[in-house]
Symmetry: D2
Subunit: 483 residues, 4 copies
């Protein structure tokens, strides 16, 4: 008979068990192995006398990896005790004692959660790098493609598609730094902290940490089990990425609405009633993934709010599902967005058509009036503004301005070539060649730097993954652990 109330089992133990079984089982086995390896090296007489038993225990844990994971059992509280039960059935209680000794679910769970979360961090890093690659590739193709940048929802100034994409890439580069920083903050090992005060057994926590690919043990055992800042930092970076991407995808959706950006067939959907429809659903669903990421993050924040420092449950077992679901949202959004960038395309013709009929070179006209015709900036700005208005009344675009139009408003007599150049979007962009500007050669240089920085990130990612893979391999083959 179960020692637990049915309501408690149905609402807590069973769903938690299933969650741990699906998402955490391997990490549990790794952490258990690392702990037993540490126990094995204790100077205690009892431990020294039972080295063979401990080896058998290690082998039994290793064997669990190959077996199907145990189904939920109403008599035990969680996956860890389910493993214990299997081991005890096989080896007897005395041998399994070397697993239990100096170990609490507090430090074990927290270790497992951190291992799981660092996996998620590495996946997000990898996928963000992939998105940057897609961005840089698109940017390289559109170094000279004019894009009319809107500000305040009105046509603002010409820039290039590459300049826009490089700006987004710049933000993602900062997000990568934040992700690596979050990884470093997270990657310290709780094991050996036991319930919170450590153990009176002289466990070598540095050794344990090394086995599991952590940089070091957490330097205070209470901190090791009770702090939730690592997950809040994780969430903070996810929020930041989600907001950047929600803004980027919003532009892609608007451009898609105007036919400036086009998705291939596999990423659009028709309508059940409107025969003409070609909906950019990949982008739309990406957008909601980012909204959900932002919402999910609040689950994590609320769970750490107004609780005692030693309340481990709220941000421990009860919030891991929210962390994973937040990750799934963001990662799904990343996948949809990256695919949309890899397989979609900017429509050069429509972009060119848009560039040809806006008034967005008025800024340069004012600049030229200041620089070459000696007007004060204020006067130049006023004159250009009036010109736009007067042309608008005549139904003409700014690019159709004649020398006479300017004279009629009391402006200087322009040289025809100077006027045409001042009103040309390509020239507008080429002249903006200061540091960070949209001129093609400036952006080309920027993209080269960005690609180099991205390569360094990929190298760093590979190093982190190798460390974890090696640790994992050693733990799977008892006797091969690092010393």
């Amino acid at each position: 008979m179960s020692p637990f109330h049915e309501v408690y089992r149905e609402n807590v133990l069973k769903p938690d068990y299933r969650f741990a079984r699906q998402h955490l089982a391997e990490h549990f086995l790794n952490a258990m192995t690392a702990h037993v390896l540490t126990v094995k090296r204790l100077d205690d007489a009892a431990v020294q006398a039972h080295q063979a038993d401990i080896d058998k225990l290690l082998a039994a844990i290793a064997a669990l990896r190959a077996e199907p994971l145990p189904e939920y059992d109403a008599e035990i509280p969680d996956l860890y005790f389910s493993f214990n039960k299997k081991l005890e059935a096989q080896l007897g209680q005395d041998s399994v004692s070397f697993l239990r000794l100096g170990l609490s679910r507090n430090d074990l769970d927290m270790t497992v959660y951190k291992m799981r979360t660092r996996d998620l961090l590495l996946i997000i890093i990898e996928h963000l790098c992939k998105l940057r690659q897609a961005l840089l590739r698109q940017a390289e193709e559109h170094l000279e493609t004019i894009l009319i940048a809107y500000t305040h929802h009105q046509p603002g100034q010409p820039t290039t598609v590459a300049h826009y994409l490089a700006a987004i890439d710049n933000v993602l580069a900062r997000h990568l730094t934040q992700l690596f920083n979050a990884y470093r903050h997270l990657n310290t090992c709780p094991l050996g902290a036991a319930a919170l005060a450590g153990s009176s057994h002289a466990l070598d926590r540095h050794y344990t940490a090394r086995q599991l690919g952590f940089d070091a043990p957490v330097s205070n055992t209470y901190d090791a089990v009770a702090s939730s800042d690592w997950q809040v930092e994780f969430v903070g970076v996810m929020q930041n990425i989600a907001l950047t991407l929600s803004r980027f995808v919003n532009d892609l959706i608007i451009w898609s609405s105007q036919g400036l950006y086009v998705l291939p067939d596999g990423l659009v959907q028709g309508s059940s009633i409107m025969p003409q429809k070609r909906n950019p659903v990949a982008l739309e669903h990406a957008r909601t993934r980012f909204s959900r990421t932002l919402g999910s993050s609040q689950m994590v924040l609320y769970s750490s709010h107004n609780i005692s420092y030693a309340d481990l449950n709220d941000f421990g077992p009860d919030i891991q599902g929210a962390l994973i679901s937040l990750f799934i949202q963001l990662d799904g959004g990343l996948a949809l967005l990256t695919t949309s960038l890899e397989d979609g395309w900017f429509d050069r013709e429509k972009l060119a058509k848009q560039a040809a009929c806006t008034d967005t070179t008025a800024t340069e006209l004012a600049d030229v009036l200041t620089r070459q015709y000696d007007l004060s900036f204020q006067e130049a700005h006023r004159l250009a503004g009036e010109l736009v208005k007067s042309l608008c009344k005549k139904g003409k675009a700014l690019q159709e301005t004649t020398v006479d139009d300017l004279l009629a408003l009391g402006g200087p007599k322009f040289d025809e070539d100077i006027l045409r150049a001042a009103l040309d979007p390509d020239t507008f962009v080429r002249r903006r060649n200061g540091f960070g500007g949209p001129a093609p050669e400036v952006v080309r240089k920027h993209l080269t730097h960005a690609a180099q920085a991205l390569d360094k990130n990929l190298v760093r990612l590979k190093q982190l993954k190798t460390t974890l893979t090696e640790a994992q391999q050693n733990l799977q083959a008892p006797g091969k652990e690092r010393v």
Copy 2:
């Protein structure tokens, strides 16, 4: 007559003006000065011909610092144009042209907002350091004061007040790193980006950045004006700190509720109806400051959500008030909490009384049974559990256990000294002397390291502040700018 609708003035322009006047005026003057200094160095004929006018303009901007800030004026849209109006009235439009040239409110505003936010970051860094100092001081006084740590809201294990406080300090040390990282991400200069595409005037953006104490100009001009990630990172760290402190203050409130932590008279309040009351109001109000910080952060996140990349208004002028109010909440909470720690005290007598009557050394009894009497951990754990239950029925505490009590439950015959030591909270703590544990000598060493790390943070803070102060001084005295 105002060109703006009354509803627009009352709901937007007037409150925004007052906000800028109160919080941003000096930063506007600094950024304007840096821009004019940059314009002055342009190779343009017009600029070279008017060096004296430009110097007069610089002097006039410098003079504005000493004058009372202009009151709200219904005819102008904002503080920047209010300064312009004053300057034009004094110098005429032509001179002021050298301020307007190549400058947009987009890059100017964003520069000012970043300068303001880095000030806030430095204040929070400073106050967090102060809180850590108070924590470390309290910790040093209580290296041996036993604290019964609760887990799951039940007495768990003995540790020390110092061990607990050192754990909190550990988290705050990580928060300091996050704050310094946020500073570095933020501290690049938007100026010269103009509307978003830079200027066709060859402005030296590296020079401008240096004048204002930035590490570098933002390396893409669209990124310079359109990215909100720096404020979302700021908010992410504030959330993290608020959650850590909400958990810490919650413990202080609980301890205060039980008389274990005591506030001095100036930080408590009585009741208007209950004569006996002495309410720990400083801690209570600190708690709500952290709740409000968390809530405020959502204003910033919502403002950057589902908007276009070029929508600068949402996270620009319209959200600066929220950033400042979020800062005020967190900083107020920090002040209340730091004062409560500086002036309050742990009641050693009551803590000792609490330590004497709990069952929290049961873990060590089980450890001793495993280590010295050769029981398996499971057996030892079961026996200790039964002992607590049987004593409870007799109304006895665990520390009153006799050798016979254990024998009666089928346990081993204990040596009296071993039993007493196993049940003693001080011994419990002293034996937990592994890395990160609560044993006084371990925590003492930890505190020394923490103090050294904190000192390094203070040195770094000082450097950052010096850079800003020097930049500010140079800008106030035209002609003394850095080259």
Copy 3:
């Protein structure tokens, strides 16, 4: 071959399909049936000519209910088209035309989502009623059990357990009203709105609404498909309930921490390392359920933020999972809390012990000084305050005050009986017999009213459920629909 990109399928179509299959299938079949029944009544020649075909279609839809739901199929976009495919395979395209005609996924989906959400509302109403029953039962048992109410985390005044529980019940009664209001707002039918502009086929939307148990059709077809306020209202009530319960469960946890409230064995858990532990886990997990409800709610709010009115995807298919997960959290918390109240108990002895040794009757002492000894309230309040302080120095509790203690502080000479009564918690409570006060006879009357109001709510709930059940039964048996 699938017409959809693999990334789109894996991240959107497949998980959405599984979700719809698990949570929405029956509602889809109901709505499809109601639509075909409405089409059948069209005056069109084509429709009138194919009545038999339409009846076959209805029978085929009814038959789908008995069959296993189709597995995910990479060639179709969603569950609705999966049903279509099956029906077409069986009946041919012409017959199924009467399902497609005038129907859009926009109105169909929204109808299904509303039907699903009203189910959730009814479950929450039912479970909240159950919690109120448990509360009222506990309250009735403790009409005279003194509870020391804390304010500002310090002992405040005596009240009774019943008075406290009746207060919580009062809030829940208001929540029930909010739930019924949300039901009424939600319960209008979108079907017939088609994409958003209705259909040129003369569908009788009132008839359709009636078939599905809705109160009426939505009175504007754009509103029918594009408004998300009904789900935001649902979320608003969930937030409110979660906050009320988070505060209530927090008190139960504190009382449990002090042994004043006790959970039975099936609702507590031990520790893997601390043998003495008995953790009130049912309450702890209830608390996080409420935190998660609050966080989840942000997913729903973000999804409706800064989108166009016609963006149906964000708050439609993409947010239904969040609504259900929010429901699961709140409902799980309700179950854990209700069980904890049904099976747990207040420890009368410990409550009495706590009541005996606090200073919380000081308010009444001041009241008596004002009422019977003619002191001003301020003077009485000051004197009672000084008395508490002076007794505290002597280590005495307020209830041990002697007549001389008061004289010594310059107070009046008390009659011994009056003094004892003024200091007695039971008397304190009995004297507070004004409207809403804790005096047992007042609370008893209040509980009777509450029980009657609750009964009315249960009757209303039953009516709503009956309406839905009857509609459902009619739709399952074609030919028996209501006219």
Copy 4:
């Protein structure tokens, strides 16, 4: 000398005092008056003997209304005690005793907060009604103006401006109901609850409630002071309104971006650098007001989260500022949006041009094929889709379709008139004349109903305001109170 620590004064008492002085002073005087009036009717000998003194006290409180409010005073904790101090200085302690008796800041504050919040509710109700009036007026002008409704960011179907606006109005009508419901839930009076257990003085709480315009006293004194659900309900409705309006304003911004909706000069702003700009700033700032409303709401929710039921501070004094700032945001957004609707206009010419060149009547073409040419819906839908594609390749719009185009794709031979009608947006709309559809006569009827329902809301609002005004007038003139 101040009894309060400087840090506590600067961070808590001083800002709270200023807030109360600015926002709550009148309500404090009202509640104090109502309490003294209630005390005056006590049957106590002391009270009966001092009726004249009580009248003097009432007169003195009334006189405070005419005096300047006292400045912050470091010796007193809050505004209430500041009033007390003034009254005692004038009348002596004995007279003021009749104010203090049976009164706690707990019930006094909560009463004041509720009175303030119900004012805010009435203002929002009034301004929402005003927005609806502007909506209905615009709708009436555009019953026949075709609007191409986008779904999934692509042109979907023709509807009318009026149909769209009527949909938004429908949602606002539901929000008004929610606001009235929130008012009813809130409008019960806490006074007489004292600290939480009521008073042993027989205060007539029904009488007090009546004086202050409340519907009734709260029926449990603990509930009266400790429940925060009324403010969470307020916040829930604000969130809902903010989301609806964020979606509506988003459409206006998009239309404004395309020139379909135009703002007058007073509601747009130019650029400091781009001469051609005319930015729809009133709409942009409205949008951020709604974002900030949503963010602010989290301050209120966090403040009630994971606190004890008797923790009145968190959602009491410490959160009122957040409630007001949330109100200011929403109300500012309402003002900007309403003005934009009152003074802006839809550009009929541009809307017509847009209607002429989309493919959005394809749905009707399919409907006609089904209804009049006997195709199955699926076949009709497929044919219309292919037609759009083939025309698109030829650079032709759907409205240019010829009878031959359809024949070429294997479609039926259309009658020319039937074809033209099927492709005409006006006809599309006129044919959709079912319940809730866009056909002008249907929307006209809907608008009439909406206007009538709105009038009823305005009557109800006026009644609520009259009740409060009368109560207020009676309290200002002592001796005229209601019995």
